[in-house]
Symmetry: C2
Subunit: 265 residues, 2 copies
């Protein structure tokens, strides 16, 4: 469960992955944020189709993108430039086109979660796979979508369906990594084993004895109150260390201030 020490980057993550193709992106910041989102989930290859302000000769565009990429500069540095979508996908074997709205084309429609297992299989058998993302405001043209094998769309709130470009890339990367063994960087880190019943029962005995001594239980109520108290404490599903800590807490309360251990004024 800890995950530490295991290799969380399976070869398929570091190696081949879907290629992200941005068609006529306008804002440098969006290109940079796409690169960051790709890096977050192990996508590595970025293609740019005719970015509005040029690349990299535009200078300003690449600089702005680099600032937004938050360190994913290797992806920007290796980005390849193409004049149109057809050229950008010419060497690929399988292409998905993203769109938020129906285009009247009779293609299969997948969500990222539905598409990624199939893309993984294709990539594992050596196919080169790309995902087309359209312009910030108007998306892909119908002709560009017609180049694709299938459509990728996102399960969003229909009342507010407009996804930011980088966030569409992010969801593809996220589902890609989930499909390929992505795990969080850490898991619950509890070095103590679950408490033994003996430790728990000994804690109960101590607590109930001290409560008896303090006059906590009204006449005749001890059995039901003890049962309730045990229910509460059992629900903690304590570790051995937690049971010992809690026993120490009860003991400290029962014994009260001790010489040399009184709190400072």
């Amino acid at each position: 469960m800890t995950g530490s020490g295991t290799d969380r980057t399976r070869p398929s993550i570091a190696g081949q992955a879907p290629i992200v193709i941005l068609v006529e992106p306008q804002l440098a910041e969006n290109i940079g944020m796409c690169a960051r989102a790709m890096a977050n989930f192990g996508l590595t290859e970025l293609r740019l189709v005719a970015p509005r302000d040029g690349w990299p000769s535009g200078g300003g565009l690449k600089k702005g993108a680099t600032a937004a990429a938050s360190g994913a500069t290797h992806i920007l540095d290796n980005a390849r430039l193409f004049p149109d979508a057809a050229a950008a996908i010419a060497d690929l074997n399988h292409v998905l086109a993203t769109t938020a709205r129906e285009r009247g084309q009779m293609k299969r429609v997948f969500t990222p979660a539905e598409a990624m297992p199939g893309l993984s299989e294709r990539i594992a058998t050596g196919e080169r796979v790309g995902i087309l993302f359209g312009r910030e405001r108007i998306g892909l043209t119908n002709e560009e979508i017609s180049f694709a094998d299938a459509i990728l769309t996102f399960p969003v709130n229909p009342a507010f369906a407009s996804l930011n470009l980088a966030q569409a890339v992010l969801l593809c990367g996220y589902e890609w990594l989930k499909t390929n063994g992505g795990e969080p960087g850490f898991r619950e880190n509890n070095p103590s084993p679950p408490a033994s019943r003996a430790t728990v029962l000994s804690m109960f005995d101590y607590l109930e004895g001290e409560l008896d001594r303090c006059g906590f239980f009204p006449p005749g109520k001890k059995p039901i109150m003890t049962a309730n108290l045990r229910d509460i404490l059992h629900r903690l599903d304590m570790t051995e260390q937690e049971a010992r800590t809690l026993r120490g807490v009860f003991k400290s309360l029962a014994e009260g201030p001790r010489a040399g251990r009184e709190p400072k004024a």
Copy 2:
């Protein structure tokens, strides 16, 4: 499969959902992008803990956030301000804290996909649930994390694990909506039923007859070439309309230019 006409916003989406709590966010743009990401996936309630530049009296901050929210202004307008994280969660029943790195706390650790079914159950039974997101650079303090019932973290590329604030919110919203019946806005829209075998066989008959007439089949090769051709065409898994269209294509090619239908020069 089309989804059209069905109510894609289940009551739990429009109604109660996890509350997003941003602790000391610095950049107005990030607050706005969080609001947009929330709206994309049906989260509605935003709480801000001591945003660096004030809210809304800061003026500038709220204006910048509104620009980045791309229309999700209802979320910003209803955002509530709190002086600290403890105050922001005081009325909640269950709280998750997001963090990208292990904090040495013995809490359960969930990914968004793992956490959302449980949060849904809690919300369905009337609990109020919140998710704490930390400062852009340094995240939540250990004390703020100690307020939470469990930790939420993201399965990312360990070599590039730093998620943008809005993208962390986005992934929570995305998994929330997936858990609560989120569907893409459209599905494959093919009004024609699958082709009947009769239509397909009739198309084969026509094609093979014309190819015979054209001398397409070398001597003795017709059976194997016919079988290969049928394999290719069967793989199309055609609709009735597609089979008719393809037959029309073959017919047009076989008949060649017709009077009055010749292409313009």
